[in-house]
Symmetry: C2
Subunit: 269 residues, 2 copies
């Protein structure tokens, strides 16, 4: 085993959301090179069928491998919830990390006895978070709620104010009078709502962010496996998208916290 | 030329929205058979690039032709706005109708001197409606406004109430104090907001629905070309989708005004 590995980390998502994971990774691991893929021609995945999501995810992984990455992060809770088992089975020699295990770990570490998990329709229908949490601790009460409008709201830049609050009310109104100990943001778009959600629950609910949790998990994994980049590595960040780069470029800064640099268009089909 | 033509009308869209056109067509032309295609694996088109939309639309047309249709309706304002010229050039022997000409006709017929056109980002960026209206009458004042959140709202069934009103305010607030004569709903999802929009403008703005306009235009075309089905034709309605039929089936009734019947999955790539 090499003591250092300067190859890039591959991160993929259906579109922009995974950039919140890339941002957290770059904060946690500033020396790592990152190759990011957003399948923007077919975004979003979250309302699509398990069958289609698995097919898209396989094509995403094939592309990441063609970039010579050392490990792959499926930075999309939907893919992680419905396609990760299939990916691990079909790529037994590759390291593919998802969002679920790290989110489950964040819930366990929080000490919450009752947690609400929010995500896309596909993520919630998969029941992956509840199963993951109960595999560790069956006593934790888990409520799972699909919030399909939050992704388009985040993409429109509406992450607070009256509209966000009314949409929270539609999905989470019943939790407000009887709040859980923690709320797990089970979608990479949702960190953009963290402040507004904390405010919505008057600070009474601990907000757990699966993007930050995933970055911490990946950092620990690289350290343990001695796969981190050399401390003097010059990190790079490359973005690949399946639709034209214009729209992606326009919105990426909001998700990444910095301009994305060069964005290249590629084809998966 | 045959006096009657019992072959089906082909209607395609990125997803559910075109069903509002299918519904209007079935009301106007109850004797016609219809084959409907929704490219639900890649929905939505409205935020994607011109390049991708043209590529998808060509695949949609190829499938429609494989079903032996007598004419094709691109029942998607986005496709009509950005890809129709390309489709007509590449399929010179086929009859392909779009949403723009009929919407323009509805504006002219309304006698409006000032009209607001709302649609997806791709439709509005194309400027197709303004160009179409000004090709007929340059004196009409046209304001074009992209309303990207209305499609996800309609798909979530939120077509009125506080959230819809606040979203209207975000996009159309400035029109409310100084209303135009007419508002053209330049997206097949928007007829679901017709009542709420009429109410938002306190009945002062005439709502023009491009789905109804397209159906009337198609009926007139079939009549003039002697391509209508025989009066004693037994009509059929077949739906084809590119993702699994489950979600489509669940929401289709809201758009079609009736259950869609059999929905078959097909592949375009």
């Amino acid at each position: 085993m090499k003591p250092f590995d300067n190859r890039p980390i591959g991160i993929f998502d259906s579109g922009l959301g995974g950039l919140t994971v890339a941002a957290a990774l770059r904060r946690t691991l500033p020396g790592e090179a990152v190759a990011y893929l957003g399948d923007t021609a077919r975004v979003p995945y979250g309302d699509k069928s398990v069958d289609s999501i698995i097919r898209f995810a396989h094509q995403d992984v094939e592309f990441m491998l063609s970039r010579g990455v050392k490990l792959i992060v499926a930075a999309c809770n939907t893919v992680s919830a419905v396609a990760l088992d299939s990916l691990k089975r079909d790529y037994p020699d590759e390291i593919i990390l998802g969002m679920i295990d790290s989110g489950v770990r964040a819930v366990i570490d929080s000490g919450a006895e009752r947690v609400a998990v929010i995500g896309t329709r596909a993520t919630i229908n998969s029941d992956a978070y509840r199963r993951g949490i109960h595999a560790v601790d069956r006593s934790i009460r888990v409520e799972s709620i699909a919030c399909p409008l939050l992704v388009p709201l985040a993409e429109e830049g509406i992450t607070g104010g009256v509209i966000a609050r009314e949409v929270f009310d539609t999905y989470l109104g019943r939790l407000r009078d009887d709040p859980p100990d923690a709320l797990l943001l089970g979608c990479t778009h949702y960190p953009l709502f963290a402040a507004a959600l904390a405010d919505y629950f008057s600070g009474k609910v601990r907000i757990l962010d699966s993007a930050t949790a995933c970055a911490a998990y990946t950092a620990r994994f690289l350290e343990e496996q001695k796969m981190a980049a050399r401390p003097d590595n010059t990190p790079s960040f490359g973005c690949f998208v399946t639709d034209l780069p214009g729209e992606f470029h326009r919105h990426a800064t909001r998700f990444l916290g910095a301009p994305p640099g060069r964005v290249e268009r590629i084809s998966l089909t």
